[in-house]
């Protein structure tokens, strides 16, 4: 396809379709799909796509959408779906099932605030709610990042060292409905990049077994431990995938995280998704004024890349986390993970800022204010609420 003008949803729908079609010489692809704002264009695209060996099943609920994916994966097909917000909430039981069943489904989470009360705008809380479900999670900041990461997601998920499902998240409306320039893929390239989907534990007629029945504590313990080990394997597998991607597409997509101006930074800000792009511009501006500011975009959330993050923080002594999400009774969820990462670094001042909850527009001014606040600080305090509703 090459250089294209498209919305985030178009990009997602199209990339999923190409990835599904790439499995046409194996078991094919299948998706259960149910619409919810702001994801509807993805499934509309998929419904119109002419698969050579694939079927989009329009079900009656998100819970069933994941059910269809589970069934199709158990039958050995490549599977995918998309949802947001309360759709993800309704799907939760089966999201956990897919995770514990270790089926390599890819789901696009178009991040949207959970409700009621109803709010259609962006907030990472919906996909983060699934952080314990044994799914990998990627957070994308741009249309290109989204397209590239979806392909990476299939490659990593279906790798037998990982064999876990993957959420690929984008900002609702800000990415999903915004038209931008993006370099889209050709089918032959995707065919070359993605090997056929092989699910080693799929249902077999020559050797029948029961999948998912009663399991006692020792098998369960072992199972969870194996999932953790596979999660850890995701990082080296991701690196291999990035290498392969670069060979075919000529560019290297971001890995677990992206750094900018962190080498000699004294203060580092951490954010994800489109907010990280705004942050990028502010860092450029502050650097031009001589401040030693850097930023980290956390792209991979599960597994949480602790080692990589520590390395990226380096010698910086002040770290600010911008969380467009919140766990009531505690704080921002990225902050909680980063605090655990920094448990042996009491000398680093780590401060959480809650910004853009419920979809408020996070402007450069908001970020400047945060940096100014960081500069004044001598100690960290409880998570700071920064009102971005102007």
């Amino acid at each position: 396809m090459g250089r294209t003008l498209a919305t985030g949803n178009n990009v997602a729908g199209h990339t999923l379709a190409l990835a599904g079609e790439a499995n046409r010489h194996a078991r094919g692809c299948c998706a259960g799909a149910y619409p919810i704002t702001p994801q509807t264009e993805i499934i509309e695209f998929l419904s119109g796509f002419k698969f050579n060996k694939g079927r989009i099943v329009l079900v009656e609920s998100e819970h069933s959408a994941m059910g269809v994916c589970i069934g199709a994966a158990l039958a050995g097909a490549r599977t995918f779906t998309a949802s947001s917000s309360n759709g993800l909430a309704y799907m939760t039981e089966n999201i956990y099932a897919a995770g514990y069943y270790r089926l390599p489904t890819v789901m696009i989470a178009v991040n949207r605030t959970l409700g009621p009360p109803w709010n259609i705008w962006v907030d990472q809380g919906d996909s983060l709610m699934m952080r314990d479900a044994a799914w990998l999670q990627f957070y994308c900041d741009s249309h290109q990042d989204l397209a590239d990461t979806i392909l990476l997601a299939f490659r990593v998920a279906e790798d037998k060292r990982v064999m876990l499902p993957v959420i690929v998240a984008m900002d609702g409306f800000v990415t999903s409905h915004t038209q931008m320039v993006v370099d889209m893929f050709e089918q032959e390239q995707v065919d070359a990049f993605l090997p056929p989907c092989v699910i080693p534990h799929k249902l077999k007629h020559d050797h029948p077994s029961t999948f998912g029945g009663m399991t006692f504590s020792s098998e369960t313990e072992h199972h969870r431990y194996a999932i953790q080990q596979s999660m850890e394997q995701a990082l080296p597998v991701l690196e291999e995938a990035r290498d392969e991607f670069e060979n075919i597409f000529g560019r290297r997509p971001a890995g677990a995280l992206e750094t900018y101006e962190t080498d000699d930074a004294e203060t580092i800000l951490i954010a994800c998704n489109t907010m990280a792009r705004t942050l990028h511009n502010v860092v450029t501006e502050r650097r031009a004024n001589g401040e030693k500011i850097g930023m980290i975009r956390t792209k991979l959330f599960r597994p949480f890349p602790r080692k990589e993050l520590l390395a990226a923080i380096g010698n910086a002594k002040r770290v600010a986390v911008l969380d467009r999400n919140h766990s009531p009774g505690s704080g921002g969820i990225f902050w909680l993970e980063i605090a655990a990462t920094l448990k042996d670094h009491a000398d680093i001042l780590l401060q959480d800022y809650l910004v853009g909850l419920g979809g408020g527009d996070v402007t450069p001014e908001n970020i400047h204010a945060i940096i100014d606040d960081m500069n004044k600080r001598t100690t960290a305090s409880e998570p700071e609420w920064k009102d971005t509703s102007i």
Binding site: H201, F211, M214, S218, H222
Partner: protein
Amino acid sequence: MMEITICGRGGQGGVTLAKIIASAYFLKGKYVQAFGVYAAERSGAPIQAFVRVDDEEITNHNQVQHPDHIVVLDRTLIAPGMDATLKPGGYLIINNPVDKTEFKDHFSGRKVATVDATSIAVANDLGTRTVPIVNTTMAGSIARVLGLTLTEILAALEHLGFTGPNKTCAREAYKRIHITTLPGEIHQAQAPAGKVRVADIFDEDVGGMPKIKTGSWATEKPERRRLTPPCNHVCPAGNDVRGFVEATGQANYDLALSLLLETSPLPAVCGRVCPAPCMDTCNRAEFDQSVNVREIERAAAELGTRPAPNRSTREAAVAVVGSGPAGLSTAYQLARLGYPVTLFEAGDELGGVLRTGIPSYRLPRDVLDDEIDYILSHDITAHTGCQLKREDMLRLSREYQAVFIATGLQNVSDLDLGETDAPAPVQGLHFLEKVRQGNERLDGQRVIVIGGGNTAMDAARSALRIGASEVRVVYRRTRTEMPAIHEEIEQALEEGIILDELVSPVTLVDSANGPVLTCQGMKLGPPDDSGRPRPIADTSPESRYDLPCDLVILALGQSHDISILPEGSVIKEGEALLGLSGAPFFVGGDFATNAGTVSAAIGCGVRAARHIHRTLSGEDLFPPPEEPIASSDQIRFNRFAHQSRAAVKTLDPDQRRRCFDEVHLGFQAGPGGETSVGQGAVSEALRCLSCGVCNKCDRCLEYCPEGVLKRDDKTDGYVFDLEYCKGCGVCMTACPRGAIYMAEL
């Protein structure tokens, strides 16, 4: 702290029992804890529950590892090592019936308390038959061991809402518990096994057979049994009625016939003349109609091939006096056993009453001759025209190794009808003999037959056939009490014979218009010695009237003439004689029993042959005692579809009343009435329910929920895999004929 482990099966109330014990101590002010190990709700699966009791608050929530006492609710859970974790001095409290002692093998050195809680619970209707709820009962026995008072444990029951029978059971168990210390040393606990490899979802070899042998859940096991079908039980000849009917149903006529020929050499005869008590007792009558066994026997005789006769192999020779059915039967059975037999018959032809007493329209000559020929084809020498008397018996006792007398009923009952010039009444049997010889005609005559048995019917119908213009049967009771076969009476009436019920003859006199029989009307009174209502003369004047007639035939019954027997002989149980030296004498048939049927006579012959054989060889061929009879309670009628009897053909009354052609023509098939004996026989035979005897219908196998029933050709039936059978009893219920029952383990 006291800790108790309860081992039971799902459904027995183990967890509730833990709560009952805990309640008892709670009411005494203690801290308590009661819980079970939870999995899925499965009746019959082994479960564990725990109780802790302490003076201080209990903070330990782990499962009990070293109990002070172990309760066992189900003795089938007892296994070696079960007591391994029990503290020294602790008790095993076991629900155990008095006669089971496996626990003694496994718990040496331990203190053991036992009570039969299951019996107590079942007697008080707690739970279902397969899963009796024994917890409240056991609470009583446990209380005793723990030192709780009866009041305290009853209070605990009340606290949890248990009333009535539960308290009764607890009380009972408290009283009846038996406490002992087993001799020997306490077994040491085994060292725990090393770490077991845990399976992974990616393993290639997942999905194997389940490891639980669910046979350990069963409290009962299915067993096959063979009851006695009522037809077999009642057959006077001892035929395997069910057996030959089943064989016929499979169109295996040879097998059917050979089964018949085991006990009866006269199937073609009996298939025509037997009153068929088997049909009267057939359980199918409660469903739609009894199976037409007689007709099937006739068909088997017609369609089957007889086995070749054997030659004699023994030295000992036997004499049989009388060639009626009893004599023929005995001779046949003995010849089959290898004895040379000599048959003595007073008449000119063999057969006794078969030939002289049953008219050919009921039993064609050629049919009888054919069966007698087959009997004689065995090593039997027959002498006809040989009237033996008492003095001949001594000779026989020296020339032969055994003698069997079956001379039938030689004496006929007479009736005094007064002095008369009218032609004298004729005895029915003599009349029939003359008819048989073909010399008799009664054209235009009016005949009265006095009597109600088969001879009366035979005489009446024969009179009709030789031209009588009117035939009346006069009987002093009603049709219901007539001893003749019902079909005979029906056919007689169809042929136009008139039945005068409740009439007794008084005198026969001559008159200007010919002989007249004066008759007295009767009423039925209370039963007499025969069990039938006693006929009492009606005293009203109209009750006496006259019947004109040309011939009176008497058919009032017969009795035996024992003058043939040596003096001082005693008939013992109808079977044996005393008082003669030399060869042993046996008697049978009507001569001995007056049973009055061909099949009874045949049965006598079978038994006589066994007696004789046992006396001469020592070998006892009498069958073992009968299994219980399969009553209609054992039959599940709802399994079967109603099916009316296969069609049989009888000659039209108008056609048959003037000739001696066989009246009854057997099975017919097809609307056009073409004879297809086989089709009719098979279809009728398939109506048999096979009461109490497995006929491999496969229903048990089809209904087994576990799929652990297999066909077993070696045992000609089925085998149950008791390793997996849960003892549910569905097979027992599925069997339509009571051939499976649930036995104690």
